[in-house]
């Protein structure tokens, strides 16, 4: 008896192919057929941010061709096709996907294969496809809430793989590398759909975080409604795909616009887009006739954000035990670096500079 998964902690489903993902055995020349229920489930898992892969004993070439023929190949990361033990395939996947064995569901029709994996990797949950369908229908697999970023997890993973390949092959100085990415930073007011991701960012981001203030979803919802505040999110794309929502700013908007919190995900570490985000905020404030003020609360990990503020032109106006207050002189609003295109929502009239800017 396979123990049922506890709370929905499944991050990855690994499928066997023959008589599991599809009906029939490839090597025996059977006519293969993917049941509609499986096809739907693969899509549903994907849309809920659950990664999927394949562990199948088959000739890699033909198996890959069939996956492509069924239009399913894009859903499976690092398919493990060959003759090694399934436990070895799963170990490889745990390693390349950087996930724990206890977050993996392995689906195989063969009792022998399930037992082999269960013996070698006791934390991996091994189930038949019938059991997988039951678990999903019983609400035991899919996360209750899916942020826009989670829904794009597989695509973002694939984009990151292509990007890393480009970075490793790239010969040349850093600024040419940044230009080669073709980055677009979209800065806009947060809406309802952004709040879960925004709250998650305040909890998870420590290094590129100016004050470390955390907000939960409800608090952010209140700030979005409050005319005295703005909650602003930033998304970054490049020619390899999206990085998702990677930046958050919370401002109080009185006579001065005060950046109470500015953070960026470590996904964009080294992309040098902080100045562009600060420029967008300062220009928006200026368009509303306001001066831009920023708070910084030092921790042992976030000095880089003070550096970012200072280099973007902010000057220190006061300093207490646990807080630095900075202002942006009106004549020193930074230019947007040439390697990133800035797209903003409501500030197009004041945006100018070397980059092409677009209203939505």
């Amino acid at each position: 008896m396979t123990p049922a998964p506890a709370e929905n902690t499944v991050k990855c489903v690994v499928w066997d192919l023959d008589d599991t993902l599809w009906d029939g055995t490839l090597l025996e020349g059977d006519e293969l057929h993917v049941p509609d229920a499986n096809r739907t489930l693969v899509r549903v898992l994907d849309e809920h941010g659950i990664l999927q892969s394949v562990a199948s004993r088959n000739e890699p070439g033909p198996a890959r061709d069939r996956l492509r023929g069924f239009g399913l190949d894009k859903y499976f990361l690092h398919p493990q096709l060959g003759w090694s033990a399934k436990s070895a395939s799963l170990r490889t996947l745990l390693d390349v996907l950087n996930i724990g064995a206890d977050s993996v569901l392995f689906v195989d029709d063969s009792e022998f294969e399930r037992a082999e994996v269960a013996r070698e990797l006791p934390e991996v949950r091994c189930v038949t496809r019938e059991r997988l369908h039951e678990l999903v229908a019983g609400g035991r697999v899919l996360p209750r809430q899916v942020t826009a970023d989670a829904a794009r997890r597989r695509e973002m993973y694939q984009a990151e793989g292509r990007r890393r390949g480009h970075e490793e092959r790239f010969q040349g100085p850093a600024e040419e590398f940044l230009s080669s990415l073709g980055m677009t930073l979209r800065v806009r007011n947060a809406t309802e759909g952004d709040l879960d991701r925004a709250a998650e960012l305040t909890r998870r981001t420590h290094q590129l975080n100016t004050t470390g203030i955390t907000f939960d979803r409800d608090e952010l919802a209140e700030l979005v409604r409050d005319p005295g505040h703005r909650v602003i999110v930033a998304e970054l794309d490049d020619r390899f795909g999206t990085y998702g929502t990677i930046g958050l700013a919370v401002l109080s908007t009185g006579p001065d616009w005060t950046i109470r919190l500015l953070l960026m995900s470590c996904r964009v570490m080294g992309r040098n887009v902080g100045t562009a985000l600060i420029a967008a905020l300062a220009r928006t404030a200026a368009a509303h006739g306001a001066r831009t003020v920023a708070h910084f609360r030092p921790t042992d990990r976030n000095r880089q954000m003070l550096v970012t503020y200072r280099f973007a032109g902010f000057a220190v106006v006061s300093r207490s035990e646990d807080r630095v207050v900075l202002t942006m002189p009106e004549d020193r609003i930074p230019a947007v670096p040439g390697y990133v295109r800035l797209v903003t929502e409501d500030t197009a009239t004041v945006l100018s500079g070397p980059t092409q800017e677009v209203t939505r």
């Binding site: 850093a174 230009s179 200072r310 280099f311 040439g338 390697y339």
Partner: protein, 87 residues
């Protein structure tokens, strides 16, 4: 770097130039190249530069020193360190 003698600006510039060449992948860094505003280095690299000069020259870089002007070129950084080691 010996502790006895105060390094000259030229000695400091040589050390800084070599460090930035390594950090940026530019073997032939010019002393007045705009490193940060020109996109040669990012703010992570800037933090590494701060750590590097503090360790190498035994000086403290204060928050006030975090002016773009002080970090945007080999010349600026060497001048900052020269002022600090002279104190």
């Amino acid at each position: 770097m010996t502790a006895q003698s105060t390094p000259t600006n030229e000695e400091i510039a040589a050390v800084v130039r070599e460090f930035i060449a390594r950090l940026s992948g530019h073997p032939d860094i010019e002393d007045d190249w705009p490193l940060i505003s020109g996109g040669v280095l990012d703010s992570i690299a800037a933090v590494q530069m701060v750590d590097f000069v503090e360790r190498t020259f035994h000086v403290e870089v204060t928050d006030e020193d975090l002016e773009l002007l002080n970090f945007d070129s080999v010349r600026g950084l060497a001048a900052l360190v020269t002022r600090r080691v002279a104190v």
